[in-house]
Amino acid sequence: MSLLEVNDVVAGYGAGPDILTGVSVTIDEGTSYCIVGPNGAGKSTLLRAIVGILEPRSGDIEFQGKKVNGLRPDQMLEAGVCFVPQDPSLFPTMTVKENLMMGGYLVRDRELLRKRLDLVYEAFPALADRHSQSAGTLSGGEQQMVALGRSLMIEPKVLMIDEPSLGLAPMIADLIFERIRGFGALGITVVLVEQNAVKGLQSADWGIVLDLGSKEFEGPADGILADPRIRELYLGKQLARKEHLL
């Protein structure tokens, strides 16, 4: 059975136009996904609609067979859907450790939280070194690590990550992608939105191409990377430029 089912979702902001014009996506347990597409395709909006930050104007979202649209983000998190937004959204004057512990706000078992904290420090040793530093003073890459580490504190079933490589140096971005690939082993189903289509698709099993608010294509990630037609149409300029650089 699919873990998460998005059915013909239409969504937009305030009184503005529809950003998503009817998107249907199925997320299966144990597969990792990367959503790609040009700027303004609605990739981030789709994640926000799923995690409850933005209520869909129409359509259904089902998680583990239950209808979840209209639920608040904290209720979605309780159900097992966690979100890491584009800007890492940390608590700037709290320390790294406090930020990570806030990630486990819904977990009452302190012992379990301590264990998970150790795991996060293992995955991101840089954070262990800076555990008592306030989060607002970290570099962009370290902030992203805190945001990812924070999401591990709750061990979600599905983790939605929005543009983790945004604004990061390539080496740091590579490290972040490597860690994200490792999340699958923890039983976390990762759904990644990525502007950097090559890196994103390389880190995922399945690719979903969005354009103008609806799904244009989906298939195995390596297939999309290899298909010249899709690259030309939806990822064209960006991929061409990337390859030129390589």
């Binding site: 930050i53 937004p85 959204s89 940390l90 700037p92 004057t93 806030m102 706000y105």
Partner: protein, 295 residues
């Protein structure tokens, strides 16, 4: 010399009470970005409740804190749920809170004037007329007992607030919401519920302040305009949203105005208040402990 110490003591005593009055206001701004212009009017409600209890049952105003705090907490949660979800997520939310709470202040003032008329009221427990006299050589220091009690109760409540925010799970949720509302949502905090709670806590602090000021300042229904101006000055100085800042701001401004009052007379003391505010903001526009504002 001894005169200066005396003035300093009076300033600090008053500052402690100002700090309590302003702590609720700054909490509401910090957590919910609500500029609560009705805060002083709500303090007045608590002062009038205290007055009625004192007048009819001879209940001590400090004991009345035990009643005004829960009553105002309940009122706060109710008011929040009734009024604020309507404007949440609207364009220009902060400006809307100013209009909304301005209207609320007018309504409260009108109701209080209708019920209690415009007569000056004050509770007069025995200790209000007392003072502790400390002989120092030839001279004497006076510590007015009522203000001392009010200051001590204020500090105890502020310490309690600090402990609540730092040590409890709900307190952590309130602090997290203050720092980053979006992030608070992401880690599973129900920000609507936390906001309602914080509004209740803010008004509970207003409730305690109302009981305490009932025997320090004579009050009447339109008195709150004077108080709100003063409290806004305090929290702007301290950095809006920072409770530490509100406490420090209150102490600084109360002491400054006490010294000016001593040197130039009572007429000049409110001016000193705002002059000190202007001067400090020239140097530090975000206030003493304020983060740069992102509205």
């Amino acid at each position: 010399m001894i005169d200066l110490v005396q003035v300093l003591i009076l300033g600090l005593l008053l500052g402690g009470v100002y700090a309590l009055m302003a702590s609720g206001l700054t909490l509401l701004f910090g957590v919910m970005r609500i500029v609560n212009l009705a805060h002083a009017a709500l303090i007045l409600i608590a002062a009038y409740i205290t007055f009625v209890l004192f007048d009819s049952l001879a209940l001590d105003p400090i004991v009345a804190v035990l009643i005004t705090m829960p009553v105002m907490f309940g009122l706060g949660v109710g008011l929040y749920l009734l009024l604020f979800p309507r404007i949440e997520g609207t364009h220009r939310y902060v400006e809307m809170t100013v209009l909304l709470t301005f209207g609320l202040a007018l309504i409260v003032e009108g109701l209080l004037a209708f019920i209690f008329t415009g007569i000056f009221r004050q509770t007069r427990p025995d200790y209000v007329m007392d003072a502790i006299v400390i002989p120092i050589g030839e001279d004497q220091l006076f510590i007015p007992t009522g203000q001392l009690y009010a200051m001590v109760v204020s500090l105890v409540l502020l310490a309690g607030l600090w402990a609540f925010l730092q040590l409890t799970r709900t307190g952590r949720a309130i602090r997290a919401t203050t720092q980053n509302r979006a992030a608070a949502q992401i880690v599973g905090i129900n920000v609507r519920r936390v906001s309602a709670l914080a509004f209740g806590v803010g008004l509970a602090l207003a409730g305690a302040s109302g009981s305490l000021v009932s025997f320090i300042f004579p009050f009447f229904p339109s008195k709150h305009w004077q108080w709100i101006a003063l409290m806004l000055a305090l929290i702007v100085l301290g950095g809006m949203g920072s409770i530490k800042g509100a406490v420090l701001g209150a102490l600084i401004l109360a002491v400054a105005s006490a010294f000016v009052q001593d040197a130039f007379g009572a007429t000049w003391s409110p001016i000193a208040f705002y002059l000190a505010l202007f001067l400090i903001l020239l140097v530090r526009p975000q206030g003493l402990f304020g983060a740069k504002l992102r509205l």
